[in-house]
Symmetry: C2
Subunit: 160 residues, 2 copies
């Protein structure tokens, strides 16, 4: 069974968003060994300088790195990444599970994104959309896509 870690900088406070994310996490957890890690974002003032943002991203990067499972294939989500269809995401998972450790870490950044360091150390940069989504919604979108990808690989009926 493949292992999937979803590392998110930012927590979900709203009960209804928690339930929505939880629903896909439950389903995905039935198809792989799933771990979701929620990290605290660094607090910034309302109009942070570029330097303050970079410092915050650097601190967040250290916390993220400490959580990535050893040997995992690291996928960071960023708007400049490669766009894949649901089927291509499934193929990417399958190919890397066959050639690698079968362990994946997906990383979603805070509202200012991810540091260059995290992007550079990633095995794959994935973009779900050209549009910018809030991290909570991106987390649900990613979890749904991973559930869909595993459903495609398992030939289940979820994906028509």
């Amino acid at each position: 069974m493949m292992s999937v870690e979803i590392i998110v900088t930012g927590k979900i406070k709203e009960k209804y968003i928690k339930e929505y994310a939880g629903e896909y996490e439950k389903r995905l957890g039935g198809l792989c060994k799933l771990t979701v890690v929620e990290l605290d974002p660094v607090r910034l003032c309302d109009n942070p300088s570029q330097k303050e943002i970079e410092n915050a991203l650097q601190k967040e990067a250290a916390a993220i790195k400490a959580k990535i499972a050893k040997g995992a294939y690291v996928v960071s989500l960023c708007v400049e990444g490669r766009r894949l269809s649901s089927e291509e995401l499934a193929e990417t998972l399958e190919k890397n599970a066959l050639n690698g450790s079968g362990s994946f870490a997906f990383i979603i950044g805070s509202s200012y994104g991810l540091s260059k360091e995290i992007k550079d150390m990633s095995d794959f940069k994935l973009s779900m959309s050209e549009m910018t989504f809030p991290h909570k919604l991106a987390r649900i979108m990613l979890t749904e896509q991973l559930y869909r990808a595993f459903s495609i690989l398992g030939n289940s009926k979820y994906h028509k």
Copy 2:
């Protein structure tokens, strides 16, 4: 004030998804005249034939067409559509509000998508992602993007 109509074939039953969609509808409703129209999808068996799917899409198209506001700029969501960034979506809204009626209709299809007729009659085909998302999630994604687009146009702080 611009008018936005979101026409969705499919209803939301889950309370938590309703709350999530409702949150963005409330916010978006503060920035434009918003109407959300939920239509019933045609019920199909588990393994419908291509012909059955086409018939269902045709019936759904008739219901959709009856709901599109007269003179609205029609945007249908489909995976083969044009991909826009959040900023480009805002520009598209602004440009068409200046040149047109200021009324927009966004159409999200059922789980089998939209009929060719609806796509062909649309002024714009929009793709939010190369990935396939369930219509309930696509609805939240679209509403969030419209809220973001209006925030960009209004120079609010929502969109950094």
